[in-house]
């Protein structure tokens, strides 16, 4: 018993002060892409051509990056001859719709909005989620799981992962939804009582991720169930996931801190 108490003393209090203060992110963290279209030479398509998931679309305004497809790899940044595209360390990536997942040069990224007033009244103080892993690589699962550790202590925000869809207010889906998980995802969704929400975490669950061309998968959660919140990344950093969840609950201001 003494050993346990001594360890407890040595290990200290380690829950992160977020969202009052920001946890430190690694120097090489790749967050929201920043596009400086004015640097783009006319007709240049290098970034779009090297992107392995076809996440970059170029029009008269310059390159647009679809965060729903982006794997946050350095391919476009390394390939761009002008340094027109770079990753910032902004972790706030969650969006409410497919359209809002697109980063447009010169425009503010439209982050996820809080759920509607009626949902908020029912769910915002206690959100219970059932996790369905539907063909992912266990990467998103790892960083979702981390939120339950004492570092993040998800419970203090009233959010909890529960063991049955009957106990849940919604689903958190990872993976591109393989054909073999389609039925299980549908049945789990049906088993959640109304009103319910669906949160798609990671590039796979948004639009298929590195498997978007494979016919063994369906191209993300929205192909099977209606999705209310998209959290990009491959996998998203735990802070990005938590930011998305809190934003959805209307508990964060624009700066990513508590309102």
């Amino acid at each position: 018993m003494m050993h346990i108490l001594l360890s407890r003393w040595r290990q200290g209090f380690r829950t992160l002060p977020y969202p009052k203060a920001m946890p430190s992110l690694p120097d090489r963290f790749r967050g929201l892409p920043k596009i400086q279209a004015e640097k783009c030479p006319t007709g240049c398509r290098v970034c779009a051509d090297v992107c392995p998931t076809e996440a970059i679309h170029i029009d008269g305004m310059g390159p647009h990056v679809n965060l729903g497809r982006c794997l946050f790899c350095p391919d476009c940044v390394e390939a761009c001859p002008e340094g027109a595209i770079e990753y910032t360390r902004d972790h706030r990536l969650a969006a409410s719709t497919f359209e809002e997942l697109i980063v447009t040069p010169g425009e503010e990224y439209r982050r996820a909005e809080a759920m509607g007033a009626e949902l908020k009244r029912v769910l915002s103080r206690s959100l219970k989620l059932r996790v369905v892993s539907a063909g992912g690589c266990n990467g998103c699962e790892v960083d979702v799981n981390v939120l339950g550790t004492l570092s993040w202590d998800l419970g203090r925000f009233g959010i909890q992962f529960v063991a049955s869809p009957r106990h849940a207010d919604g689903l958190l889906v990872t993976g591109p939804v393989t054909r073999n998980m389609e039925l299980a995802l549908r049945k789990t969704y049906d088993a959640v009582p109304h009103p319910k929400v669906v949160i798609a975490v990671g590039a796979c669950a948004i639009q298929g991720g590195p498997y978007f061309r494979q016919e063994e998968q369906l191209g993300g959660a929205a192909s099977v169930v209606p999705v209310d919140l998209y959290i990009p990344g491959c996998p998203p950093h735990p802070l990005t996931i938590l930011d998305g969840l809190l934003r959805f609950l209307g508990k964060l201001g624009a700066e990513g801190k508590r309102t």
Partner: protein, 505 residues
């Protein structure tokens, strides 16, 4: 021991296909059976289009691999499994992927529940509308016998899989697993590659073992392109792999502690695992080691400044880990659970061809870093950790020993990296050798990761085979649970902590 019928190669060595011996079907079978009877392991058995079968045996003591192939005349052959249980899942996989039937297979079922890739029909008469997981299961009948079915969707934040327990009261007679729910078609996606997405797909073959799989993929390409990697770069790759091992072992020890109801270690380790993952994130920006390696070298190097900065954080993570995990070994309530649950023995391990932590926990000292050394482990060998009892305790203990080894390796490597300048950025690889075969193995935190590629006349992948350690080990979990209580399943399961996506590909 040596079999002239098969060709000897080293881990990571490419070989022209014309130099891989083509055997008659009978000689192919004899070579595999003689090899495995002589102590070799069947590390890969796979089919390729045109009814070809390829086998890779590992002679671990001699640090070498042996390969051979055969061309079947018809899509059926006498199953190896009755004489060589190591082949059991490989043969089911061959049947599912190519419609080739191993006749006389004792438990012939789908592996991942997908349609054959060839024009041949599904051996089970399955079509695109057949639901996954629906197949025969072992059944026990009699009074007070009952069946417990779990999954595919599980109660926690866990990948999907279906478990069937045949129980008598609380006692489990047998556990059967039906997987394939994570099947997203990686091997098929890699055919025709390397594509721009191939490295990403290798990294996500099993996303908690990104480095182990990415490194196996990189070495395969380097072997086929005839490129060698500078020693310092190899050292950085070693740092990436050992950080991955440490993070996952810490997580597993914490989870095991939680499943035994001992919360201090469980809580501490949940947090400390993050500290290890964050060291990887310093190296490459991703906690899971994404975009760290690339064929020919590294995508992101670890320079002297960063190495100097990481060293104290490494030592702090290790000090916290020791403090948290040492509590475990002193907790009688934990030890009693660990010691009675989930026993396997070395004979079962050898017969099933098991690898990694569960094998070493039965005293079977297999480790690719020692047996088929690659990268930095050739010049900087690591001691291999074993335990003898084959139970949950042994599997936990092996992880603990390996944590200490990884820390020592990391401390030495970071100190060395702090003293040396980064290698120049790697050049793009030259074209891959045409009509060749290469086998590349690494030792991930779960065990042996194997990638095999055959190239076509243009140097593109004609066949890409991935064998995750979990593929060898799932059946071991089933055996470990025999005679145990249903309530001990979480503890036994966690002590293996096998991958669903690595199995399902």
């Amino acid at each position: 021991m040596s079999d002239p019928a098969m060709r000897v190669i080293q881990n990571g060595q490419a070989l022209a296909l014309r130099d891989v011996p083509e055997l008659s079907s009978a000689a192919f079978r004899d070579a595999i059976l003689a090899g495995t009877r002589g102590g070799a392991r069947l590390v890969c058995l796979c089919a390729a289009p045109d009814l070809r079968l390829f086998a890779v045996l590992a002679d671990d003591a001699e640090k070498r691999l042996r390969v051979a192939w055969t061309r079947l005349e018809a899509p059926r052959y006498p199953a190896l499994t009755p004489d060589c249980p190591q082949a059991h899942l490989f043969e089911r996989e061959i049947a599912e992927q190519f419609g080739i039937i191993p006749e006389g297979h004792p438990w012939f079922k789908p592996v991942r529940f997908h349609q054959p890739w060839s024009a041949l029909p599904s051996p089970w008469g399955r079509d695109a509308a057949s639901p996954p997981g629906v197949t025969d299961f072992f059944k026990v009948s009699g009074e007070e016998v009952h069946e417990v079915a779990v999954g595919p969707v599980h109660a926690g934040v866990i990948e999907p899989g279906h478990f069937r327990f045949q129980c008598h009261g609380e006692t489990v007679f047998h556990l059967e697993t039906a997987l394939g729910f994570q099947h997203r078609g990686i091997e098929r996606a890699l055919v025709g590659g390397p594509h721009p997405l191939s490295l990403k797909q290798a990294e996500t073959a099993c996303g908690d073992s990104s480095i182990a799989h990415a490194w196996a993929y990189c070495r395969l390409l380097e072997g086929l392109a005839g490129v060698s990697v500078p020693a310092r770069t190899e050292r950085v790759r070693g740092v990436a792999l050992e950080l991955e091992r440490a993070a996952n072992h810490v997580g597993d020890l914490g989870a095991l502690s939680g499943d035994a109801g001992f919360l201090p270690t469980a809580s501490f380790c949940g947090r400390i695992r993050g500290d290890w993952l964050n060291l990887s994130a310093e190296g490459c920006g991703s906690r899971l080691g994404r975009d760290w390696l690339k064929p020919g070298g590294l995508r992101q190097d670890l320079g002297p400044v960063m190495a100097t900065r990481l060293l104290p954080r490494l030592n702090q993570a290790w000090a916290d880990t020791r403090d948290a995990v040492e509590l475990l070994w002193g907790a009688a309530s934990v030890m009693i659970r660990f010691e009675v649950a989930g026993r396997l023995d070395a004979t079962q391990v050898r017969e099933l061809g098991m690898v990694g932590v569960p094998a070493r926990a039965c005293g079977v000292a297999l480790d690719v870093r020692k047996d088929h050394p690659f990268g930095p482990y050739r010049e900087h060998p690591v001691p291999i950790s074993v335990a003898e009892s084959g139970n949950v305790h042994s599997r936990a203990w092996v992880r603990w020993l390996e944590l200490a080894t990884s820390h020592r390796y990391l401390a030495q490597a970071l100190a060395a990296l702090a003293e040396s300048d980064p290698d120049p950025r790697p050049e793009p690889l030259p074209p891959l050798a045409a009509d060749s075969l290469c086998v590349s193995m690494t030792e991930g935190w779960r065990g042996e990761v194997l990638h095999l590629a055959l190239t076509d006349g243009a140097g593109r992948f004609a066949r890409y085979k991935i064998v995750d350690p979990s593929f060898h080990n799932w059946y071991g979990l089933a055996l470990a649970l025999r005679g145990e209580q249903v309530s001990d399943f979480p503890l036994c399961n966690k002590s293996f902590n096998l991958s669903y996506c690595g199995h399902d590909l």
